[in-house]
C-alpha cells in the first residue's frame, strides 16, 4: 500500500491537473461561442454562392465546353484529398474522427487502384497521417499564427488547390472536415469540390431565367475558383467551431474524472491515516499491558 506521503502527493497532482482542464474548458467555451457565431454568419455567403453556381450550371448550354472545374478532366484516376484538422490537440476525438473517415476513404481508393495525393491542413492531421501515408502527402498547410479562421487563409488553400489542378496534378478533389452539429456531436464530412457535384443538391434550384452579363461561361470560369475558396472557408469555420466544441466536452469529462479520482484518493488517504493511528494505539496499549 502506498504511504501517506505518496497519497498526499498524488492528490495534489490530480487537483492541479483538474485546475488545468477546468481552465481549458472555460477557454474552449468562450471560443466556441465566437466560432459558432462566425460559422453561422458565414453560412449565407456560401449558400448564396452555391445557389448562383447551381443556376449558372443549369443554364449552361454546352456541357462539353464547360470549365474543367465544373465538368472534370474526363479522368478519375488521381484523387487529391484535403484533410482539414486542428493545429492543437487535447480535443477528444475531433482529429481522430476526421482521420478515421479519411483513412477509410484512402483504403477504398487503394482497392480501386486509384492514385492518391494528400494535402493536410492543420498540423495534427499531418502528424497522424505521416506514418502511414507519408509518401502521399504533397503539402502541409498550417495556420498556427492566425487566431481565427479567416477568408484570407481559405483563399490561400483554394489557390494552391487550383494551381495544382491547372497543372493537371489530380482529377478529383475531396475535402474532409468536421461539421458542427452541437457541442457534443461533430460529424466528419467528406465533400467533393472538384469537379463540382451539381446534381447532388439541386433542391433549391430555381426555375428563374437569368440574364447574364457577361455570358454564362465567362462568369462560371471566374466564379468556380471563388467557390472553391468559399467551400474551404466554410469547412474551416465548421471545423473551428467543432474543434472548440470537442475540446470543451473532452475537458469537461477530464475535469469530472479528475474530481472522481480526487474523491477516491482522499478516501484511501483517510483510511490509511486511520489505520496508522489505530496501529499506533494498539502498540501503546499492548506495551502498557505487558508492564
Amino acid at each position: 500500500m502506498a504511504s501517506l506521503d505518496d497519497l498526499k502527493k498524488r492528490i495534489t497532482s490530480v487537483k492541479s491537473t483538474q485546475k488545468i482542464t477546468k481552465a481549458m474548458k472555460m477557454v474552449a467555451a468562450a471560443k466556441l461561442k465566437r466560432a459558432q457565431d462566425s460559422a453561422e454568419r458565414g453560412r449565407p455567403y456560401s449558400q448564396k454562392m452555391n445557389n448562383v453556381i447551381l443556376n449558372l450550371a443549369s443554364g449552361i448550354s454546352d456541357k462539353s465546353n464547360a470549365p474543367k472545374l465544373l465538368s472534370g478532366t474526363g479522368n478519375e484516376k488521381i484523387h487529391l484529398c484535403v484533410v482539414m484538422t486542428s493545429d492543437r490537440g487535447l480535443c477528444g476525438g475531433f482529429n481522430a474522427n476526421i482521420i478515421k473517415k479519411a483513412k477509410s476513404y484512402f483504403s477504398k481508393l487503394k482497392e480501386e487502384g486509384k492514385e492518391l495525393k494528400i494535402i493536410t491542413v492543420g498540423s495534427k492531421g499531418n502528424d497522424q497521417l505521416k506514418r502511414a501515408y507519408g509518401d502521399k502527402i504533397i503539402e502541409n498547410i498550417s495556420f498556427k499564427d492566425s487566431k481565427n479562421a479567416n477568408y484570407f487563409d481559405a483563399e490561400k488553400v483554394g489557390k494552391t488547390i487550383i494551381e495544382r489542378f491547372e497543372k493537371e496534378e489530380f482529377d478529383i478533389c475531396t475535402i474532409f472536415y468536421n461539421q458542427f452539429k452541437n457541442v457534443i456531436t461533430q460529424i466528419p464530412q467528406s465533400q467533393q469540390i472538384i469537379p463540382l457535384n451539381a446534381e447532388e443538391n439541386n433542391e433549391n434550384k430555381s426555375e428563374e431565367n437569368y440574364e447574364f452579363e457577361p455570358d454564362e461561361d465567362e462568369i462560371l470560369s471566374n466564379l468556380l475558383p471563388k467557390n472553391i475558396s468559399t467551400q474551404i472557408f466554410k469547412a474551416m469555420l465548421e471545423n473551428s467551431a467543432s474543434e472548440q466544441g470537442a475540446r470543451m466536452s473532452a475537458m469537461d469529462n477530464a475535469t469530472r474524472n479528475a474530481g472522481e479520482m480526487v474523491d477516491k484518493l482522499t478516501i484511501e488517504y483517510n483510511r490509511s491515516r486511520q489505520a496508522a493511528i489505530t496501529k499506533e494505539l494498539i502498540e501503546i496499549i499492548s506495551g502498557a499491558e505487558s508492564l
Binding site: S38, R41, G42, P44, Y45, S46, K48, M49, N51, V52, N55, L56, N150, Y151, A154, E155, S206, E208, N209, Y210, E211, F212, E213, P214, I219, N222, L223, K226, T230, F233, L237
Partner: protein, 130 residues
Amino acid sequence: MTEEFKVEIVNPDKLFLSKEDVTEVIVPAFEGEIGILKDHIAIISFLKPGIIKIYSKSGEEKFYIEDGIIEFKNNNLSVLTSSIFNLKNMEKNKIQELLKKAEEETIKTEINDQTKYLIDQKIEVLRSIN
C-alpha cells in the same frame, strides 16, 4: 405601389449590410455600370473594382468594392463580395495603401490582360476617391 426593394451585401464571414427600403442601386458590373430599380429582370453579373451606390429613403450610401458577384431575383439583390469598404469611414491612408499595393501589382509582368484591366480599373477608382 412602392418602389422599394431589398438589398443584401454578404461577406464570407458576415452579413455586411441588409436594407429593405432601397429605391435604386448602381453597381460597377464587369461590362459597365448597371442601375437596378425595382422589378428589374433577374440577372447575374460579376463586378469590377468600383463604387456601389445605394439610394434609399434614408439617403445615399457609397461603398468601394474590389470584386464580387450580384444576383437579382424577385426584387432581392444579393451582392457577394470579399472586399468592401464604406466610403464614409474609409480613411485616406487605407486608400493610399490599397493604391500602392495595386500599383505594385501592375509592374509584375506575368499577369494576363484581364487581371491587368481589373487592376487598372482599381487604380483609377482609388485615385478618384483619394
